[in-house]
């Protein structure tokens, strides 16, 4: 039974494109390690070198930053290929993954300033001041009959309160 399932898995794995197969052989996900092995006990030479080939690495001795083993373009190509074959979860974490992209979209919005979470679009000055302006106008119109009554009572000759 287990052997049959195993054969099935091997068949599925062989159906993957060569590029993905090579990558997964070099950087196997913890879930596809040989039975009884953990990521601590089982490491390919590639993984010894770079735990995550998709992220830049700081050299432990010199302290210099090294580029990721796979460029962003190749990461995106690999991720797309893996997604098409339904094995995207087996890749190491990458800035090209769907979750990472979603997180970034939430954080930054549409790259239009102010469309992210908790941000506000600044708008033009007239848009920002529109509400206050309309309120002032409304108050003035509400006071208008009173003002005209007052003005008629005082008379235009004696009126002294002129606007600046």
């Amino acid at each position: 039974m287990a052997a049959a399932a195993r054969q099935e898995h091997i068949k599925l794995a062989l159906a993957l494109p060569a590029r993905l197969r090579t990558f997964l052989a070099r950087y196997p996900h913890p879930s596809i390690l040989p039975a009884g092995q953990t990521p601590e006990t089982f490491k390919t030479a590639y993984q010894e070198d770079t735990p995550n080939p998709f992220l830049p690495l700081r050299h432990p001795v010199t302290g210099r930053w090294h580029e990721p083993k796979y460029s962003l373009r190749r990461q995106a190509e690999l991720y797309k290929l893996a997604r098409e074959h339904g094995v995207a979860e087996l890749l190491p974490s990458t800035p090209k993954s769907a979750e990472e992209r979603l997180r970034k979209r939430v954080e930054e919005g549409l790259r239009v300033k102010g469309t992210g979470v908790g941000q506000k679009v600044k708008g033009h000055k007239y848009e920002r001041q529109l509400e206050a302006k309309m309120e002032k106008r409304r108050q003035a119109m509400l006071a208008m009959p009173e003002l005209i009554k007052e003005w008629k009572k005082v008379g235009k000759r004696n009126w002294t309160n002129f606007p600046k």
């Binding site: 235009k156 002129f162 606007p163």
Partner: protein, 58 residues
């Protein structure tokens, strides 16, 4: 040199009291009373009080 004589008439601006910024301009004698009248304000589409604006720097 003598300063130029002030003109006898001046242009004045009558400002809408509906706070729309709309105004009419009129010419009146400098010595006359400041103007005020009820006129139409197209922004609020009503007849409202217009008062002469105090001139600046005088």
């Amino acid at each position: 040199m003598a300063r130029k004589a002030k003109s006898r008439v001046i242009n004045v601006r009558l400002l809408s009291m509906a706070m729309t910024g709309y105004f009419y301009t009129f010419t009146r004698l400098r010595t006359a009373q400041p103007m005020s009248m009820i006129k139409y304000d197209p922004i609020v589409r009503r007849r409202v009080l217009f008062l002469e604006q105090k001139r600046k720097g005088k």
